[in-house]
């Protein structure tokens, strides 16, 4: 192996010190270092510009980087700064390799550039370290989606559509156990058509069904409420679910519509990545059938070496694909809600 890639070299240490890769083994870190380069920038140089195509991840190993987004044609606004051991550029993966802002060296700066092939490596190796890497990446994307949703509901000038009221008690709070039917009732042929299961073969899908539950909902039922703590995540098998965030305007409760989620998309999985409370409520807006997977079951699948581990990994990949869709859609929803200001 090239001397530059040995574990005492600058690549290895730089990657190891970055929180995104803290769970990776020596072998995994060495593998990543093989697809990495070091680049140096003077103050004012741009690492990449808003609108550029590119999915590489950058780790700052010396100096600092400021991150700007454009406001109009001429103005730019600094929204973040990155210092030693911080990483940036990872969100482009979720936005079709589109850079959402411009990164400029704030002083003489060196960065490790990790080729976007890292996502393929994670898919190929499927080792626990790479699973953690994907979870960390998904966590960042999920946090960004939550921030955007928060922005949409906290800005009084942004116009959303509202629901007049929400049922007070969710299906989870009433005891979802009472609503469960056996996961083996799912038709494998139908599941295979759903985006999230496309990578999973029929046999593995059957195994997953055995570990899951079928939950049927009537139109208007709340599956889970904002700020509740989830013990399961769900995949919409048929029907559709409305994501709603509640907030107060002039002391009056409002329930803003954030997104409409169709079949084949997961629900409640963002809490899974960061163990947080539900960031929004979910309401069945048609009669809806969900596949429920308990978090304990999923963690068991991921952490135990068994035939199901690969299924759990594929599902994680499905979540990440979904985050890409969700991020684009959430961004769009924010742009839409903001746009309503200009047209009276």
């Amino acid at each position: 192996m090239n001397n530059l890639r040995k574990k005492d070299n600058i690549f290895f240490k730089g990657i190891q010190n970055c929180s995104l890769f803290k769970h990776l083994s020596e072998v995994e870190l060495t593998t990543i270092s093989l697809i990495s380069t070091i680049e140096h920038f003077n103050k004012g140089d741009s690492l990449f510009s808003q609108g550029d195509k590119g999915g590489d991840i950058y780790i700052v190993i010396e100096g600092s980087v400021d991150f700007f987004i454009r406001e109009g044609l001429e103005k730019k606004k600094r929204i973040a700064s990155y210092e030693k051991n911080d990483f940036l550029g990872e969100l482009a993966f979720f936005l079709n390799d589109m850079r959402i802002g411009t990164a400029i060296a704030n002083e003489k700066t060196s960065v490790i550039v990790i080729n976007k092939k890292i996502y393929e490596l994670a898919s190929i190796f499927k080792t626990s370290g790479f699973v953690e890497f994907l979870k960390n990446i998904a966590n960042r994307a999920g946090a960004t989606i939550k921030e955007i949703s928060q922005l949409m509901t906290s800005n009084r000038n942004v116009k959303l559509q509202f629901l007049n009221k929400l049922p007070k008690v969710s299906v989870e709070e009433q005891g979802i156990e009472k609503r469960r039917e056996g996961g083996t009732k799912f038709k494998i042929g139908n599941l295979k058509n759903l985006h999230i299961f496309k990578r999973i073969d029929s046999e593995s899908l059957q195994r997953l069904c055995k570990k899951s539950h079928m939950v049927k909902l009537d139109k208007g039922e709340v599956i889970f409420s904002e700020n509740s703590i989830g013990k399961s995540f769900y995949i919409i098998v048929s029907g559709a679910v409305l994501i709603v965030k509640s907030f107060k305007i002039n002391k009056v409760n409002k329930h803003g519509k954030i997104a409409l989620v169709p079949p084949g998309r997961p629900l409640g999985h963002l809490s899974f990545f960061d163990n947080s409370k539900r960031s929004a409520s979910a309401i069945a807006c048609e009669r809806t059938t969900l596949m429920e997977i308990e978090l304990s079951t999923y963690n068991e699948l991921v952490n135990t070496v068994s035939e199901e581990t690969a299924v759990a990994f594929e599902l994680l990949q499905g979540f990440i694909d979904d985050l890409a869709v969700a991020m684009v859609n959430t961004n769009r929803a924010l742009v839409y809600a903001s746009s309503q200001l200009g047209l009276k």
Partner: protein, 308 residues
């Protein structure tokens, strides 16, 4: 899924919407940005021009020529300017059971009426409810149906929801009739126990106002086979862009806002952005209705929640 477009605003060369922009309606016939399905079962448009002879009557074009080879379409739209346009390219199931002829080409407008309608979507199990729906239409309106599509019957029902199908109507009256149409179809679906995903995205215009619906019955519900439309809501999404001038500026097609005063003079509503760069387009939420007027030369847009 069909593709459709509505325009209201300053005079525009009709070709910019129908054939010229870098993701124009006719380009979507074979190269839609949201679906892998050809929309080549008929091209039609209505174009209203203020000050033209019989200005309430739009210029009408309908053809089943393949739109990308249709020289008549290209030639006419280049010469036509209009302040309101309603355009449509039809998609239908591939196969000998589909009837491709000009009577099935949208937009529909019955003789003597002043409102035209184009539809994107389809009503599942339509034959089950067809005769009950016909019974809800005014007889003289039902008699005008010539084609075989569910869309034309939706149009007949819509006209029948108006007190006077042949009169002049405000945008509010058009919106109310569209809402009632969707409600009536909901009742028929309940009666005949039809509960699968059915899209009813309409653009309706009388040349002075545009009303557009983005609505799906039983969203995401299916029996045994999951259709692509269920899995890809983008196929039945609805978008708008507003500004002062739609056109090609230095190689970039977009709706531009030239006077920068914050009030738009023109608006396009479409089933997908008409430009490759979609950054100036906004998606209208599902279960919504857009009611568009032009008051004192400025666009007034009201997007309403139609309820769940």
């Amino acid at each position: 899924m069909c593709r459709l477009v509505g325009y209201l605003g300053d005079d525009i060369q009709v070709s910019s919407l129908i054939t010229d922009s870098d993701q124009s309606l006719t380009r979507q016939a074979t190269d839609s940005s949201v679906q892998n399905f050809m929309n080549v079962a008929g091209t039609g448009f209505k174009a209203w021009e203020n000050g033209s002879i019989y200005e309430d009557d739009p210029y009408t074009y309908k053809s089943i020529e393949l739109p990308m080879y249709d020289r008549t379409l290209m030639g006419l739209t280049k010469k036509l300017k209009a302040n309101c346009v309603l355009g449509h390219i039809r998609a239908t199931v591939y196969g000998h059971l589909s009837l491709v002829n000009t009577t099935n080409v949208h937009p529909f407008q019955f003789s003597g009426t002043k409102i035209a309608l184009a539809h994107n979507g389809g009503l599942a199990d339509f034959p089950k409810m067809k005769f009950a729906l016909a019974a809800k239409c005014k007889p003289e309106i039902a008699n005008k149906v010539e084609g075989t599509t569910d869309s034309e019957w939706i149009y007949a029902l819509f006209l029948s929801m108006l007190d006077d199908p042949y009169g002049n109507h405000t945008s509010e009256e058009i919106a109310q009739a569209a809402f009632k149409t969707i409600q009536e179809i909901r009742l028929l679906r309940n009666k005949f126990k039809i509960d699968t995903h059915s899209v009813i995205n309409l653009i309706i215009s009388n040349g002075k106002s545009v009303v557009a619906t983005c609505f799906t019955y039983d969203f995401g519900c299916y029996e045994d086979i999951v259709s692509p439309a269920v899995l890809s809501p983008q196929m039945h999404s609805l978008w708008y862009t507003a500004g002062d001038k739609f056109g090609d500026h230095d190689g970039q097609w977009a709706m531009y806002d030239e006077d920068k005063d914050g009030a738009s003079t023109s608006i396009i509503v479409a089933s997908e952005p008409l430009t490759r760069n979609d950054s100036t387009w906004f998606e209208i939420q599902k279960y919504s209705m857009a009611v568009i007027d032009r008051v004192d030369g400025k666009i007034k847009l009201d997007i309403r929640d139609m309820g769940l």
